[in-house]
C-alpha cells in the first residue's frame, strides 16, 4: 500500500457536494478525512473553495496500460500516473502486457515500486494469466498473489485466454487467494486481421471485420465456465449489445461475473472510422449506435458494473499512418470522467452517486483493493476528486498529461473539469493544475 502522504498538513474543502448530493465541508488531516460537517475550520489549514464542485471518492481504474517496463516511448509509470491524477484517479490497475510481461512476482513488485516512487496514484499491478501471455501455461499466479504487490486480478489483456481448458483452470486456481480472471474476450480465429467492427461501415470501407460474435461467444463460454467451477470472472471492455444480454442472463443465474465498459464505447461509434483516422482504431473496435445505447443501458441497470479506461498510449508514428498499420488503442485517463458525464449523467442514466459507484467503489471491490473507493466519511482515506460539472469546452492536447496524445476526443466538446485530485491526503491536482510531487 502507498505510504500516507500529506501528513502534517490540514486541508479544508469548503462546500463540496458529496457524490452530487448536499454540500458539506471536509477536513483532511494526516491523509484521512478527519471530519465532515459545516463551517469547519482549523488553524493554519489551507482551504479549497469547492462551491459548486462535486466530490467523488478518488477514481479507480481497473484497466490501464502504463507501458513500463519496455515501452517507455509511449508511457512510463510516472507519466501514466500523472495522466491518472489529472483525470481524477487515485488508483490504477496496470495491465501486464509490458516487456518483460508481468507474469512473475519480480515484475509485479517492480511495477508496484515504480508506482510508489511516482506517488500520484496507487499503481496496482495485474498479473498475466499465462506465461508471456501466450495462453499455453499458467503463470505463477500464487507467487504474484503472495508478493508485496498482492495481485488479485489476472489478465492476458490484449490476448484472449482462448483455450477453454486453460481458462477453466485459471478460474479455478485463483479461488485459492480470492483472485479474479479479467478476460479480453476475443475469439482469435474469428478476428484474424480484423480492423473494424464488422458491419455496414467495414463493408463500405473495405476493412476486415471484427464481428460482435467473436466477443460474445467467448463471454458466453466464460460465464458458463465460471458457473461450473464457482469462480469469479471479470469481462474486460465489453462492447456489444449481445454481450450485455449474455452478462445480464448470467447474472440472473447467479454467476459471479462482473463487467466493464470503456468511456469510448459509451460515446463513439464505428462511423468515426470513415476518414481512416487511426486515432479511432481500438480493440475491441468502436461499434454501432445500437451497441452504444445497449452498453449505456447495461451500465445504468447494473448489468455492467464499472467503467474502465483501457488507457492505451502509443507514440505518434503508431497512429500517423495507414489504418491497417496503426496500433490499436486510445489514451483515456484524462477524459474518462468527462465522457461518463456526457454519456451517462447528462443523459439522465446515472446520478453522481452512481458515478462514484462505477468509477471508484466497485472497481476497487472487484480488484480487492483495500483503502480505495471508500465513502467520503470521517476516518476514510482522503482520496477524492473535486469536479466542476458546469465547465464546458473542447478537449485539447493541453488536457493530456501522459506521454502520448492518441486521444479520440481532441477537438470534441466535453462537459466538466477536474479541479482537485487528492490521493491519500496528497494534493495531486490543485485548482486544475497538476502538481509536482516530491519537489
Amino acid at each position: 500500500m502507498t505510504p500516507q502522504q500529506g501528513s502534517g498538513t490540514v486541508l479544508i474543502i469548503r462546500g463540496a457536494r458529496l457524490e452530487g448530493g448536499d454540500a458539506a465541508d471536509l477536513r483532511i488531516e494526516d491523509g484521512v478525512i478527519a471530519e465532515v460537517g459545516h463551517g469547519l475550520s482549523a488553524p493554519g489549514a489551507s482551504v479549497a473553495d469547492a462551491d459548486g464542485l462535486i466530490a467523488l471518492p478518488g477514481l479507480v481504474d481497473l484497466h490501464t496500460h502504463l507501458r513500463e517496463p519496455g515501452y517507455e516511448a509511449s508511457e512510463t509509470v510516472l507519466t501514466g500516473s500523472r495522466a491518472a491524477a489529472a483525470g481524477g484517479y487515485a488508483a490504477v490497475f496496470a495491465m501486464p502486457n509490458t516487456s518483460p510481461v508481468a507474469d512473475t512476482a519480480g515484475v509485479v513488485e517492480q511495477e508496484l515500486a515504480l508506482g510508489e516512487a511516482a506517488g500520484y496514484v496507487h499503481v496496482q499491478p495485474i498479473g498475466a494469466v499465462t506465461v508471456g501471455q501466450r495462453g499455453e501455461r499458467l503463470a505463477e499466479l500464487g507467487a504474484m498473489a503472495d508478493s508485496r504487490a498482492r495481485v488479485r486480478v489476472f489478465s492476458d489483456d490484449g490476448f484472449c485466454v482462448w483455450d477453454p481448458l486453460i481458462m477453466r483452470r485459471a478460474l479455478e486456481y485463483v479461488k485459492a487467494f480470492d483472485g479474479v480472471i479479467a478476460q479480453h474476450a476475443q475469439d482469435p480465429r474469428l478476428t484474424e486481421g480484423a480492423q473494424l467492427n464488422e458491419g455496414a461501415v467495414s463493408a463500405e470501407l473495405g476493412l476486415a471485420g471484427w464481428p460482435a460474435v467473436a466477443e460474445e461467444s467467448i463471454i458466453a463460454r466464460d460465464v458458463l465456465l465460471a458457473e461450473h467451477v464457482g469462480s469469479r470472472l471479470h469481462v474486460c471492455h465489453l462492447s456489444t449489445a449481445g454481450s450485455v444480454d449474455i452478462v445480464r442472463w448470467a447474472k440472473k443465474r447467479g454467476v459471479h461475473v462482473t463487467a466493464e465498459v470503456t468511456p469510448h464505447h459509451l460515446l463513439l461509434t464505428d462511423e468515426l472510422a470513415r476518414g481512416y483516422d487511426a486515432r479511432f482504431k481500438v480493440n475491441p473496435p468502436l461499434r454501432r449506435e445500437e451497441d452504444v445505447q445497449a452498453v449505456r443501458e447495461g451500465l445504468a441497470d447494473g448489468t455492467i458494473d464499472i467503467v474502465a479506461t483501457d488507457h492505451a498510449p502509443h507514440p505518434a508514428e503508431a497512429k500517423a499512418c495507414e489504418w491497417q498499420a496503426a496500433a490499436n488503442g486510445m489514451v483515456g485517463l484524462e477524459s474518462a470522467l468527462r465522457v461518463v458525464h456526457q454519456a451517462m449523467v447528462e443523459t439522465g442514466l446515472l446520478e453522481w452517486a452512481d458515478v462514484a459507484r462505477v468509477m471508484s467503489r466497485t472497481p476497487a471491490r472487484i480488484g480487492r483493493l483495500d483503502g480505495y473507493g471508500t465513502p467520503l466519511e470521517p476516518g476514510a482515506p482522503a482520496s477524492l476528486v473535486l469536479y466542476d460539472p458546469s465547465a464546458t469546452g473542447p478537449f485539447t492536447a493541453a488536457d493530456l498529461r501522459g506521454r502520448s496524445v492518441n486521444s479520440p476526443y481532441l477537438g470534441r466538446e466535453l462537459p466538466g473539469s477536474v479541479r482537485w485530485t487528492i490521493h491519500r491526503g496528497a494534493v495531486t491536482v490543485r485548482d486544475g493544475e497538476l502538481q509536482e510531487l516530491g519537489a
Binding site: G199, L205, G206, G209, G275, A320, E322, Q324, A325
Partner: protein
C-alpha cells in the same frame, strides 16, 4: 477536382465529366501523333506499394501521352520495402515537387490518409487501396459499357436503366465496391452474385441486389456481366471448397455464355483466371470487352490526370502543408 479517392463520394456530374473528357482523350488516341502537351512540366509519381504492372503502365502511358514527367516509385528494392513510413515517403515526394501522386496500396484508406494528412500538396489518385476502392477501374468499366451501348453517341449519357451483374469475390474486391457506387450514381441497376462467404456481412446500405445463384441471375437478363478475379488462396480460408466447385457454380462457362442476351457484354478487370471464373470461350468471344477495357483505361486515366492537373485549382483547394 482536387483528388480522386473513391467513387462513393464522386458526384454524377463529376463522373460524367471524367467520362466525357475520356471520350475526347480517346479521340486523340486515334491519331498517329498520340501525345498532347497538356501536362508539360507537371510531375506525376506512380507510388506503388503493391505490384501491379497493368495498372502502373496504364497510368504511365496516360501521363506520358499528356507530356507529364513520370516517376515510378515501387516498393520492391526501394526504401518502402525497408520500413519507411507513408509519411516519410509522402514528404520526400513533396520535396521533389510532385504535382500528382498515383498511389496503389495494400491498406484500405491509404490514399485518403495521404490526401488528408497535410504531408503533401499534390493531388492524389487512388489506383487501388486494399479491399476498399479502385475508382479509375470503375470509371473505365462505365466508359466501356457506355461505349458499347451508345458508340459515337456516348457523350453526356449516363447508364440509366442498364442492368449490370457483378460476379465473384465481392468481399475482397475494390473493383466491385467502386463499381457499385459509380454504377448506382449513373443510374444502372446492380446485381451482385457470389458465394455467401464472399459477400460482406452487412450490405444493407449498398444499392444492390444480392443473389447466390448465377443461373437465376442470368435468367433475369443482364446488359453487362462483370466477372471478378478469384484468388486461389481464398480456398484455404474456407471461403469455398474447391476451384472446381467454384467454377461450376459461379464461373462463366460456355453453356452460360450462350444463354446471354444478344447485346449482353462480358467485362473482366484482368488478369483473368481462364477456366476458373471465366472460360476461354467467354474471354475470347465477341461479347468480351477485356481488351477494350485496357485501351479505355488509358483514356480514362488521361482524363483523370488532366482534370486533376490542368485546370485551375480553386482557392479553397489550396491547403497548407505541414
Amino acid at each position: 477536382m482536387r483528388h480522386l479517392l473513391d467513387t462513393k463520394t464522386l458526384a454524377r456530374e463529376d463522373a460524367l465529366r471524367i467520362l466525357d473528357v475520356a471520350e475526347d482523350m480517346a479521340d486523340t488516341q486515334q491519331r498517329e501523333m498520340k501525345k498532347l502537351p497538356a501536362l508539360r512540366g507537371k510531375t506525376v509519381v506512380n507510388l506503388f506499394f503493391e505490384d501491379s504492372t497493368r495498372t502502373r503502365i496504364s497510368f504511365e502511358a496516360a501521363a506520358k501521352r499528356l507530356s507529364a514527367d513520370v516517376i515510378n516509385f515501387s516498393a520492391k528494392g526501394s526504401s518502402l520495402s525497408k520500413g519507411e513510413s507513408l509519411q516519410d515517403t509522402a514528404q520526400t515526394l513533396q520535396a521533389m515537387g510532385a504535382d500528382a501522386v498515383v498511389i496503389r496500396h495494400g491498406a484500405s484508406g491509404a490514399p485518403r490518409t495521404l490526401a488528408t494528412s497535410g504531408w503533401i500538396s499534390a493531388g492524389v489518385v487512388n489506383a487501388g487501396d486494399g479491399t476498399h476502392e479502385h475508382p479509375t477501374q470503375a470509371l473505365l468499366d462505365a466508359f466501356t459499357i457506355r461505349k458499347r451501348r451508345f458508340g459515337a453517341d456516348s457523350r453526356g449519357r449516363d447508364l440509366e436503366g442498364l442492368r449490370v451483374t457483378i460476379v465473384g469475390d465481392i468481399l475482397h474486391s475494390r473493383v466491385a465496391r467502386s463499381n457499385v457506387w459509380l454504377l448506382d450514381t449513373l443510374g444502372a441497376e446492380v446485381t451482385l452474385v457470389a458465394p455467401p462467404t464472399l459477400v460482406p456481412q452487412d450490405v444493407s446500405a449498398w444499392p444492390v441486389r444480392v443473389l447466390y445463384d448465377l443461373d437465376d441471375a442470368l435468367a433475369e437478363g443482364a446488359d453487362a456481366l462483370m466477372m471478378l478475379r478469384i484468388q486461389l488462396e481464398r480456398m484455404n480460408a474456407a471461403y469455398f471448397p474447391t476451384e472446381r466447385e467454384y467454377s461450376r457454380r459461379w464461373g462463366l462457362d460456355p453453356r452460360r455464355l450462350t444463354s446471354l442476351g444478344a447485346d449482353s457484354i462480358v467485362l473482366h478487370p484482368g488478369p483473368m483466371n481462364r477456366g476458373l471464373e471465366i472460360s476461354a470461350e467467354a474471354a475470347d468471344s465477341a461479347r468480351s470487352t477485356v481488351l477494350d477495357q485496357v485501351t479505355n483505361g488509358v483514356s480514362v486515366r488521361m482524363a483523370a490526370l488532366y482534370l486533376l492537373l490542368a485546370g485551375e485549382r480553386d482557392a479553397d483547394d489550396r491547403e497548407d502543408v505541414r
